[in-house]
């Protein structure tokens, strides 16, 4: 039983299209009756590897994702990745998670609204593939106690629900909660500017009444839906996605404080927002074509 374990891990490594370092728990019980590898966040590396295998063609062939400054993402230790969020079903989240896991071989946990947990099937799949509900306690545990990478979109649903006419205009960054969490956990914030996700699934129209009736955050009518019919519900346009990782931002404040100065938090949040907005403009200036980059 004990000797079997590394062998299983080895096999897992070779069948996965994208290899990833599987965090082995040190205090394994010798006769562990566990049968799956679902961790305390509901994430399963096996399901994640499967999802990566399925997503790989979309990532490298469809979006032809291109990174800049990937080396700025810390190779170890916790860090809070912060990005802009766009497209009715945002492609930025899976692209960032996939890209970092593929290139850096580090798992990324995607923090998102708890709303996902309430959805049958989707919620479970979301958790198995690395989704975690964005509670401050969860983020703290991931970043500080488990030294993981966590990805947040401070715009929340305001990002993906915005209309195509507002593309690449960053929304308000919530209440700066992400800065406070990074301060408390004592980890850097790494901003990532994404270009291309806006055009992958542009929102033409929103139906707020229908969204309210269905109890979902927003109900978009997308260009994909209009041109491709039902297929457009899930299939994004093949826009070229480019990602730029900015310099990590370290806050020189003591970790584990109960509260941080609100003005400092808002200032830092606003600063990160400006940085992201400016790099997005910069990337758009260099972009000749939506489809070819």
């Amino acid at each position: 039983m004990v000797n079997e374990r590394p062998v299983i891990a080895e096999r897992k490594r070779s069948t996965a299209i994208v290899p990833i370092r599987i965090p082995m728990e040190e205090s394994k019980h010798p006769n562990d009756p566990r049968q799956s590898d679902v961790d305390e966040w509901g994430r399963s590396e096996r399901t994640r590897a499967m999802a990566r295998a399925l997503y790989e063609p979309l990532y490298s062939k469809w979006f032809r994702a291109e990174w800049e400054g990937l080396e700025r993402i810390p190779a170890e230790g916790g860090a809070l990745l912060v990005a802009n969020h766009a497209g009715a079903i945002p492609s930025d989240a899976p692209v960032i998670m996939h890209g970092i896991e593929k290139e850096l071989e580090r798992p990324v946990y995607g923090l998102a609204d708890y709303f996902f947990r309430t959805l049958p099937v989707v919620g479970t799949l979301w958790a198995r593939t690395g989704g975690v509900s964005a509670r401050p306690l969860n983020a703290y545990r991931l970043l500080k106690e488990q030294n993981q990478l966590a990805l947040v979109f401070p715009e929340g649903t305001k990002g993906p629900s915005k209309l195509f006419t507002d593309r690449y205009q960053l929304r308000r960054f919530g209440r700066g909660g992400f800065v406070e969490i990074a301060m408390r956990a004592g980890v850097p914030v790494v901003p990532i500017a994404v270009v291309g996700s806006e055009e992958a699934m542009p929102v033409i129209l929103r139906l707020p009444t229908l969204a309210k009736a269905l109890g979902i955050p927003y109900f978009p009518i997308t260009a994909n839906l209009l041109t491709m019919g039902p297929l457009g519900l899930v299939l994004p346009f093949p826009a070229k996605i480019k990602l730029r990782v900015l310099e990590p931002i370290h806050f020189d404040v003591p970790a584990d404080q109960d509260r941080y100065s609100k003005s400092r938090v808002m200032e830092e949040a606003e600063n990160i927002r400006t940085l992201l907005q400016e790099s997005i403009y910069d990337m758009l200036r260099d972009r000749r074509s939506v489809w070819f980059g």
């Binding site: 019980h29 009756p33 305390e40 708890y114 947990r117 049958p120």
Partner: protein, 328 residues
């Protein structure tokens, strides 16, 4: 529990109390069959001059008793017990309360891991949770009013093990077991021996405070079912009306409905920091349960860990020819 206390020679007098007669006889503990009315409790506390009360009678499973009775036991019972313990002239120095992680509830808004001081994610939606929250608040009031008395509250996760039967264990021991379609919650269990050991640990060590008690690690419900060799039957997630009739068919008390959707995890480092070592992880608790179940199925009887030979015991107790010290 009492059996474990009996094994400890430092305990002078052990007095069991309950509304039902115990199913096994005790070696040296005495047992009073009484309910939790104030006058009785008060007299017992006064007469016996007890110094430690283990309050383990709270009900955490709404299927066993009707709502009203459950409230009576958990809230009024706790209130009476605390009042008796806090009465003037009381000799009680330590009260250990057995509560449940049900007080955290289970909802989509919850953090993945509850610490002892994390507030609930959503208001209590069912009677058991409400009663436990109220009982715990009574305990908190008591500890504020009686700073000289040590108060320990242990919040236990769902218990599985060789003997205990709960709605979860009954469901898992059947060939078909309910699951809510599209949900595969992460659950945390505590092995029943660890429950007993935790109670003993805080009692012997006189450790006050509020602690979560749960085995390490969390398992998805589907994996629990797989380990137990039962098949999950998905129940429609959309309407509770849908679940109610099925609740009779399966055993699905209301406090399980949310748990089977969103699960619950607790942080157990606080108890570990007092020096408590768990024997079993969450998965270990499931394993211990299913191993006992297999034995019961194949041998047709319950495994017996405690043997009490009445005649032999009576001989040791009363025969004049026994002069040496028996092995208690």
């Amino acid at each position: 529990m009492i059996q474990a206390l009996e094994a400890d020679p430092s305990m002078d007098v052990i007095l069991g109390m309950g509304a039902q007669t115990p199913t096994v006889p005790f070696e040296r503990a005495e047992f009073v069959r009484a309910d939790q009315t104030y006058s009785i409790l008060n007299r017992i506390v006064k007469a016996t001059q007890v110094d430690t009360i283990l309050h383990t009678f709270m009900i955490t499973n709404s299927a066993t008793v009707p709502q009203r009775a459950m409230n009576e036991i958990n809230v009024i019972g706790t209130m009476n017990l605390l009042a008796a313990a806090g009465a003037s002239g009381s000799t009680v120095r330590h009260i250990v309360v057995k509560s449940s992680t049900l007080v955290y509830g289970s909802s989509a808004r919850d953090p993945s891991t509850f610490h002892e001081d994390t507030p609930r994610g959503s208001p209590a939606s069912n009677g058991v949770e409400r009663a436990l929250i109220e009982a715990e608040s009574l305990v908190r009031d008591f500890s504020e009013d009686n700073p000289a008395t040590l108060v320990t509250v242990l919040r236990f996760a769902n218990v599985l093990g060789t003997h205990i039967t709960t709605p979860i264990s009954r469901n898992l021991s059947r060939p078909l077991c309910p699951a809510i379609f599209g949900f595969d919650p992460l659950l945390q269990f505590v092995e029943e021996d660890d429950v007993e050991r935790a109670l003993l640990h805080v009692t012997r060590g006189s450790i006050p405070g509020l602690y979560n008690v749960a085995g390490d690690g969390r398992l998805p419900w589907s994996e629990v079912a797989r380990i137990c060799g039962t098949r999950l039957i998905p129940v429609s997630p959309f309407s509770l009306l849908n679940i109610r009739p099925l609740a009779r068919f399966f055993e699905l008390p209301e406090e399980l409905e949310d748990l089977l959707r969103f699960g619950r995890g607790v942080d157990t480092r606080r108890l570990a920091s007092t020096g408590f070592k768990y024997n079993a992880t969450s998965a270990g608790a499931v394993e211990s349960f299913i191993r006992a179940l297999r034995l019961r199925r194949q041998s047709g009887r319950k495994p017996n860990s405690y043997t009490y030979e009445h005649d032999v015991e009576q001989f040791f107790r009363h025969s004049p020819s026994v002069t040496g010290i028996s092995d208690n």
